[in-house]
């Protein structure tokens, strides 16, 4: 638990904070960019980011304000509002993402081999309440 806290902080400071982004901001952009139509419902993000619904509301608030995402109504279900990646969002994701994943990899390389990373990922993935694919590497 502690390991993650410090690693997270380090990564965040490295490339994200200078652009005013948090890890969850970054991962939101990442998830959106991978999603069909580059958009996701709030509930989808709740699952993917492991936040509460209100947490997602606040997160998107900031992202919308920064122009990196947009709200879109859903025809057919007035309850849901899509979070849609804007071109500005895709752009900053590209800039940040390259540095971020580069930094991430370089942190793991040297201490952990390719196999060990896979092993770690497998073990972590088997922990209760945690499905696979919750890692943004």
């Amino acid at each position: 638990m502690r390991a993650q806290a410090i690693l997270r902080r380090e990564l965040e400071a490295e490339t994200l904070t200078p652009r005013g982004l948090t890890i969850n901001d970054f991962e939101t952009l990442l998830h959106l960019s991978k999603a069909e139509g580059q958009r996701l419902r709030r509930t989808d993000l709740v699952g993917r980011l492991m936040l509460t619904p209100s947490g997602v509301t606040r997160l998107l608030e900031g992202l919308n304000e920064a122009g990196l995402t947009e709200n879109h109504e859903c025809d057919g279900d007035a309850r849901v509002t899509w979070a849609q990646l804007t071109s500005a969002g895709a752009e900053t994701l590209e800039c940040v993402g390259v540095n971020h994943t580069k930094r991430l990899r370089s942190l793991f390389r040297g201490t952990l081999s390719e196999d060990e990373v896979a092993q770690l990922s497998e073990l972590l993935g088997r922990l209760p309440g945690v499905g696979p694919g919750s890692c943004a590497g």
Copy 2:
């Protein structure tokens, strides 16, 4: 990173929150109980809990208020104030600790074998910025 977040929340809700404790409260008590004289300096806790000095100040504020720890001056260095475990603190640690570690173990058992836990711990321990012994098992 996500794995830890949800695991932490689950464990916290299980046995800690009912007593008004957070994970860090618990770990503070644990570290104090293991320390010589059952007391530690603020700086020691900064290292052990991976918090900032101000975080530790706030943490101890609550623990002191609850009567689980006490401040003690240090003869010989007026800068430091010890965080001292009280008997009430030791008592609640005992009550909570049993359930907490029991719950922790049962979460790991079934999904991870003894060897795998050791393996996971070893891999995690090699991550940069993370010394050994940062796990409160």
